[in-house]
């Protein structure tokens, strides 16, 4: 039986009828067209599907939409809401500046996880960043530039007081 869910996605109110066995990642990608959130392993190992749920990084391939009823969700698309030509989120900009990606498949999850690391640890050491990236896999870069990017992004976030859409409510 379909269930009505109402949630905030990147600051926009969304209300839909969904099947109980609908995964959050599929809902975001297929119903809302937010294909920046990727499906990698689909077994909650790789972190390509990482989004923010009420401000905390979670794996959207391992969550039902119905569990997110009433929640505030931020996806990679919500970090720089103005799109092309607009300012990137400091963490996105740090990935760009530090060449923190090659093929880019894991990048949305890396950026969302990176913001979570910065929010939890402030200015994390490289060791902390590496430990905190346990649940995000990259098969191209060898992680070195990802760690550099997150360190730089955390620094930029601390300087600018950057907030995600989840924290500001899309204001």
């Amino acid at each position: 039986m379909a269930i009505n869910v109402s949630l905030s996605v990147n600051g926009q109110a969304v209300s839909r009828d969904v099947q109980p066995n609908r995964l959050l990642v599929d809902f975001l990608r297929e119903e809302l067209g937010l294909t920046g959130t990727h499906v990698g392993c689909d077994t909650s190992q790789c972190g390509a599907c990482t989004i923010h749920l009420d401000g905390l990084p979670v794996k959207s391939c391992t969550m039902l939409v119905v569990q997110a009823d009433g929640a505030r969700i931020t996806t990679i698309e919500g970090l720089a809401p103005d799109g092309d030509g607009g300012d990137l989120h400091p963490m996105q900009e740090a990935f760009r500046q530090n060449h923190g990606l090659q093929c880019g498949f894991c990048t949305p999850g890396m950026v969302m996880a990176g913001i979570g690391i910065a929010q939890r640890h402030g200015l994390p050491s490289n060791d902390v960043i590496r430990a905190e990236l346990d649940g995000n896999f990259c098969r191209c870069t060898g992680y070195h530039n990802i760690v550099k990017s997150i360190a730089a992004g955390a620094k930029a976030m601390a300087m600018t007081g950057a907030k995600t859409v989840a924290e500001t409510g899309g204001e």
Partner: protein, 281 residues
């Protein structure tokens, strides 16, 4: 940002999971009643094991009853010599709790070793204990500290709780509401993680409690178990050397592609030594 209209064929991946009905319980009574009237229902806590299991079609249920909306099931409180952790408290919250870190740092450390940060934001202590995965971390702490499992019906001592592979003393429909941990004099957890999954190949929790020394092992057997020979040795001499010569039999231990039973038996001694060294610190 415009959200486009429904795209074609969103049903394809929906077929991964068998269909089920979903209910959000408003109270413990509501949850138990919804479960008893459904055909083959199960409870949903954080879902970090249940949802992957459903996705792989290793399980199917007629109904999922979500416990996330029930008030009062999450949170950590320290009251003198007892720490109470609500069943729906997520691992990240346990790892980050300053009050818990003061009272039982080994337990906060253990929570920070479970899975990865994103999973720790969803997975719950009650869900982990109800599932009783043989390689989960919490069972070692619950048994090692001699905790009490509080349910909607009764209190269960840790020593009576873990029965076998994915089998606990919980009765059909019984709901864990909290876990009460006595504060030990000293304790530590050492884990040899599977490098891919971070589950424990072997984890050993050692505690010196009011009731004596306890040594609890996860990952090695069908469920968490104590090692009485090590406990007796540590009671006389709380030092790594005391357990260095004590081994558990490999006969009933787990064996898989990650580690043989004999290797797991060897790891029990090694992790016990490290845990004692850390606790004695």
């Amino acid at each position: 940002m415009d959200i486009p209209a429904r795209l074609p064929d969103p049903r394809k991946r929906e077929k991964k999971m068998y269909r089920f009905e979903y209910h959000k319980a408003t109270s413990l009574e509501d949850a138990a009643s919804k479960r008893s009237t459904a055909d083959d229902a199960t409870y949903l806590a954080g879902g970090m094991t249940l949802i992957p299991t459903l996705k792989q079609r290793l399980a199917s249920h007629s109904d999922l009853i979500d416990l996330a909306g029930i008030d009062g099931l999450a949170g950590i409180s320290v009251d003198g010599a007892v720490v109470t952790i609500g069943a729906m408290t997520c691992h990240a919250e346990v790892a980050a709790s300053a009050a818990l870190r003061d009272a039982i740092p080994a337990l906060a450390d253990l929570a920070g070793l479970i899975a990865d940060p994103a999973v720790r934001n969803r997975g719950t202590i009650g869900g982990s204990l109800a599932n009783s995965d043989p390689a989960a971390d919490y069972p070692a702490a619950v048994l090692g500290l001699g905790a009490t499992i509080v349910t909607d019906k009764r209190e269960i001592a840790a020593d009576d709780y873990f029965l076998d592979l994915f089998e606990t003393a919980l009765e059909e429909g019984e709901i864990i509401t909290a876990i009460k941990f006595p504060v030990p004099k000293r304790a530590a957890y050492e884990k040899f993680p599977n490098p891919a999954s971070r589950y424990a190949i072997v984890g050993v929790f050692v505690a010196e409690t009011e009731g004596g020394v306890r040594v609890a092992v996860t990952g090695a057997g069908p469920c968490a178990f104590r090692v009485s020979d090590m406990e007796a040795a540590l009671a006389g001499n709380f030092a790594p050397d005391a357990v260095a010569g004590i081994t558990v039999s490999a006969d009933d231990l787990n064996q898989d592609l990650h580690a043989s039973a004999a290797y797991r038996a060897s790891l029990v001694t090694t992790m016990a030594k490290r845990a004692v060294a850390k606790a004695a610190g």
